[in-house]
Symmetry: none
Subunit: 190 residues, 4 copies
DNA sequence: CATGAATGAGACTTCATTCAT
DNA sequence: CATGAATGAAGTCTCATTCAT
């Protein structure tokens, strides 16, 4: 018996990611996924119940991975400022370098294919930021605005920034990072 | 396209907007549009060449309308600050109250259906902000960052803010507006 | 506008009937129905919601038609014997000459595609026989056995008889009819 | 077919029987058979060439078993009447108690999966009845009607009777058996 | 020999667009 | 010009059979 090949799940995920990057979520078809993943179309259904499940599982896996990566240099022992910068920096780099992944997430956001499970996952990313912002408020550094609104603002802002950055075809420089960092920090500072 | 009855174009646009709000861009079909607009399915093709054209023309019409609305209180004679606040306020209100319209735009943003024409239209909205930010820089109020990046950041930030605001089911209060306003202004200030 | 063509429903029904006769219910496909009915495959869905609905609507229409045909010479004013013979004769002829229709009904009987609606329709056929048998019992001609059991026995018997008749390739003769008639009548007589 | 483990053939047959009872012949899949028989899906192909062969071999095995059971009390030395009643009784009981088996046979009857081999097998069941009816005719008890037609009539009648019996949810009583017996005997008697 | 993962043809169904009325 | 019935390509998913382990 050929054992259920766990690597195939990844192949299917990667193929999906690449395809959406190229042809959009709307252009995604099962047979294209199969071809791109070098897997028979029917095989996909051994690992996923439906196209919807592929999308959702990839979405969740990316969200979780990003949450990890964003907080990779987060250090409980540290005070607000270094932690904020660490997270900002990681998020910015993430956004910029994992274009395909962020594009996929964005395509999914407004899709009816996205399950509730996937939608609430946002909280995973928000959790530590929440704590951090509370600390910033305690340190009298951060404005007294609801954390969710602050996080929404900051993440939306950075993504908007990067979207424009890409549109101008400019190479990412240290100056860009510092500019974005300044925007974010000044925005939330009291 | 022979727009014998220009009112029908509007009926089709409105129907499309309402439908996307309800069932998403993915669930949109020509027959549903026809039914909702109380127009025969074939009739649509008298006014639009294809489904794609409906989407794009609606997209462009909304973009243009928003651009107008956002700049409604913009006054060339004024200095940076009052103009910025006027625009901010108009954009914020727009985003918040025209949920269906912004939802439609968001659904379209990453869609392969969107033509280049539509994508470039972003500039219409950006144009006056560009001028304004230049003025702010001249007044030594605004950070020296590329205007497109600034605009991307600000608009992304506000939209993220409002998305969260909606998610919390909170009613919009003056406090919210002031909070968002402070975030935006402090962000770009030197 | 091309009006919904009621004749097409019939064309689809006839095509279905002919196909099942040839390739069985299991071999029936939508594209074959379309081809046989000279109708685009998609067109079928203008008139029927699904393959299941085609089957069920045809089933019900045949059942109703048969019920009518079987009772065509039934005459309330008459006594048991002439009515019984009239029904017997009509049923026998029906069974024999509408082979495709009875084959279709038989194929459906055990199919999971058949809806409850269709299954209970049996009663339509049973109704008048019920009355007739009651009369026969009142006349002390018919055995005192539950009507449903009697009807099941008689119809099953006749169909079994005809199935064998066909298997022998024999032409239907008056002798056959009289034989079957004698079997049925003697069976239920006191 | 290398029946190394003949018990597996039986397991597969039993699983098929149970599954058809539950989900119908149309819902039957190889993987379900494998699961129900606790046998790897591929293993089935060691014992059977195809799904069709499973169906046909089970069909034939049941037909043969029933033929045996029906004639279990048949006694060449006896005259028509006791033998007829013995066979009738056995057939009736068989029909009633082996519902799953008869359901399976019925599902198969009109299926394109059924091979000619299987269809012809009917004769095995008919053989002794043939002899018996000839005897009955010689004894001037049985009507002079072609044996095949008589057998078709009787078996069809009994099955119709039992189908209705089941539909009424009634428990089987001695009265029912006597009623059916009377119907059959009176039918064929001169 | 046993297993169930792998395969792809083919099933049902949808829908953008065309066309007859 | 208005209409919606007609069309068939294309999408998702199933499943008999094969094959690697």
């Amino acid at each position: 018996m050929k054992p259920r090949d766990p690597q195939k799940i990844d192949r299917i995920h990667q193929a999906t990611l690449a395809l959406v990057s190229e042809i959009g979520l709307a252009g995604l078809t099962m047979s294209k996924i199969g071809k791109a993943a070098k897997v028979g179309m029917g095989t996909i259904y051994t690992y996923f119940e439906s196209k919807e499940e592929i999308i959702n599982s990839l979405y969740q896996s990316l969200k979780r991975k990003h949450a990890e990566e964003i907080y990779i240099n987060f250090d409980k022992a540290q005070s607000f400022s270094p932690n904020f910068y660490a997270i900002f920096h990681a998020f910015f780099q993430n956004c910029y370098h994992r274009e395909a992944e962020y594009f996929f997430l964005e395509q999914c956001r407004a899709s009816p294919l996205l399950s509730l499970d996937s939608i609430v996952l946002e909280e995973v990313v928000f959790a530590k930021m929440n704590t951090l912002l509370d600390e910033g408020k305690a340190e009298k550094i951060v404005k007294n605005i609801d954390n969710n609104l602050l996080i929404g603002y900051l993440m939306g802002g950075i993504q908007g920034f990067i979207t424009q950055l890409r549109r101008t075809d400019a190479k990412l420089t240290q100056t860009h990072i510092e500019a974005a960092s300044a925007l974010c920090l000044d925005a939330i500072k009291i």
